[in-house]
Symmetry: C2
Amino acid sequence: MAKGKKAPAGKAAVAKISPLAPKSFAHLPPLAGVRLATGEAGIKYKNRTDVLLAILAPGTEVAGVFTKSKTASAPVDWCRAQLKRGQARALVVNSGNANAFTGQAGLAGTRAVADAASAVIGCKASDVFLASTGVIGEPLPSEKITKILGRVADDASASGWRAAAEAIMTTDTYPKLATATAMIDGVKVTLNGIAKGSGMIAPDMATMLAFVFTDAALPSHILQDCLNAGVGPSFNSITVDSDTSTSDTLLLFATGKGAKHGAVSKASDKRLSAFRRSLDALLLELALGVVKDGEGAEKLIQVDVTAAENDIAARRIALAVANSPLVKTAIAGNDANWGRVVMAVGKAGEAADRDKLKISFGGHVVAEKGARAPRYDEAAATKAVSGREVQVAIDLGLGKGAARVWTCDLTHGYIDINGSYRS
Amino acid sequence: MAKGKKAPAGKAAVAKISPLAPKSFAHLPPLAGVRLATGEAGIKYKNRTDVLLAILAPGTEVAGVFTKSKTASAPVDWCRAQLKRGQARALVVNSGNANAFTGQAGLAGTRAVADAASAVIGCKASDVFLASTGVIGEPLPSEKITKILGRVADDASASGWRAAAEAIMTTDTYPKLATATAMIDGVKVTLNGIAKGSGMIAPDMATMLAFVFTDAALPSHILQDCLNAGVGPSFNSITVDSDTSTSDTLLLFATGKGAKHGAVSKASDKRLSAFRRSLDALLLELALGVVKDGEGAEKLIQVDVTAAENDIAARRIALAVANSPLVKTAIAGNDANWGRVVMAVGKAGEAADRDKLKISFGGHVVAEKGARAPRYDEAAATKAVSGREVQVAIDLGLGKGAARVWTCDLTHGYIDINGSYRS
């Protein structure tokens, strides 16, 4: 595809592993109170796992955040309904079919899977959490899942995190795994997380599925508070294509089966700060894992907006830049086309003053005071957009609002993947 | 590129003429009071015209609509300032450089071009309207324009509409021309229009540049009223990539040099209805010409939303669908992936009821009552998205709100063009 001095805009072959994939994957330790198993239900994919079953110890508490889509999937409806009680004994996830826009049959499908899991584990169906990811609108062949659940459960073990992350992949080119520890009240607790997602990624929520497990003993309302705080600067700050999934689900389970720590009953408890920091870091790691595996992604782009009128304005401007097809294609082509960043700032609808705006690529100031920067250097600007990680900084010179979001470039790979996904 | 049973998602070569281009171009008749000329200033392009000069008869009235970008170009600022007087004697347009985000030098450039044109024509600089289109942020070499304007003016003639439309092209693959007539008070008047635009196209305004001329005798405030009414269902209802240009300019000039008709002094005058209808049709023809030449476009997609809560909700939903990269890539790949339409409706943030939603492709109902339509036929659905023109209809089943917008598909051509535009 060499056709001139510029690199081609990412002529990626379908299913090629993202060049932004980590060199090695985190090894997740066993987590007391969680046993994992995977199986091949053959829902859509052949010769790969497509069902994950996580069996959770009695007493496990749960919190969740879901898509804001008005056409949410049946499993999202199911989880929302069960979440009110805050108790969980199992998680069943399938890939290959989203069970979204599937009507009464879709609801019946969630019920059937929950019933089957409850029978296998010996718990109430309402303690089973569900997630599905894949094609929208196709009826879910739930019997393919229910008939293998018993066999799958027999193999459940405390290891198997990598296999779990792989079973929930769709167009992902690599599994997303992260682990962290934190001290609560002087006692070490562990957090393990897995995620999937590579297209239909936009806030809110900017992933399809993510599941975090901890052995800490924390009640549902505290988990929810921690999750609400952590999702903003992580999953709600990434975008691949501005398209919001019907299935976005982030669940946080706490088994309470780790080393015993003092009881925490208030979200404001200071003994939670280390746990919150570790959770935030883990959520960000998973979220960046998702955006680095954005469909066709060749580059990770970080957009920082500072000195905006306020944080909300900063976020809108950052997302306008991160979602601009023209900005994303330019960066894909190693083109330091800062004029398109100007355009994207201008279209965001937020306060911006052409003559106060300052734009930098990788620290090199390219535009300021309403024009190209006096010390602009084409070679330096090009170099700043030519690597695997690109930083775009926008200083509006107006106020104290700030936001940081991440996206990936827009390449031929995205078109390849999405022009024939369903077929 | 044959790689399976599906058609590839538009592996268009750069600068290939859009397959949606008209078979032949409208022939625009001379228009009393308008003389046109073009020249080669060599601003960016070689061996092609890049400057248009339109000389307008004394007494010409003008109205305009501009980009809502917060980082509007210097010529947009210039036109806005001059428009208050409603008088015009000349229009100078250049392609290859947008003179946007060019600071004081940009303002000086507009002044220099206006001064040069006023000297050539013998009018006030404030009667000269300006537009520039092309790269953002590069200083405009205005002397390349000013030094040829006198020579260009010498060749001005009443024909030359096709040449005028060609001189303002950037990544356009064909010129956009339209003509219409209308009766005002029993007297025939003529309207001629040209437009350019193929990327950075989104409401408001959804084109880079469009200029309409009429020989009718109408004051500026009436022209403005007609333009405001006409721009909504035409240029403000098309989108190529959701990116709003810094330079969008639509000007309507009335020379008053056609056959004499009775004076019209109020915008509500019923004798204007035929003129308004013809103007509306001409604006729509030009706008569709722009979207059919969307960068990399292989298909024209019409999105109709009906029975929404209200017209504003309908429009937001229609634009969410029309701007969805996943919907646009699916259609590029002849994939009747109606689940992505469900997703896009869901993300629009407007009232939508999964169980009342009805979606059709080319009249074939694909989804209704919260699930795939009982009479869904894959072959029929695929056929409906496989032609050059695709109709997506969304009935929300809620209220009386309706909207129609147009877009094009998202193909490899878009990536090719925009990964290396500036270089």
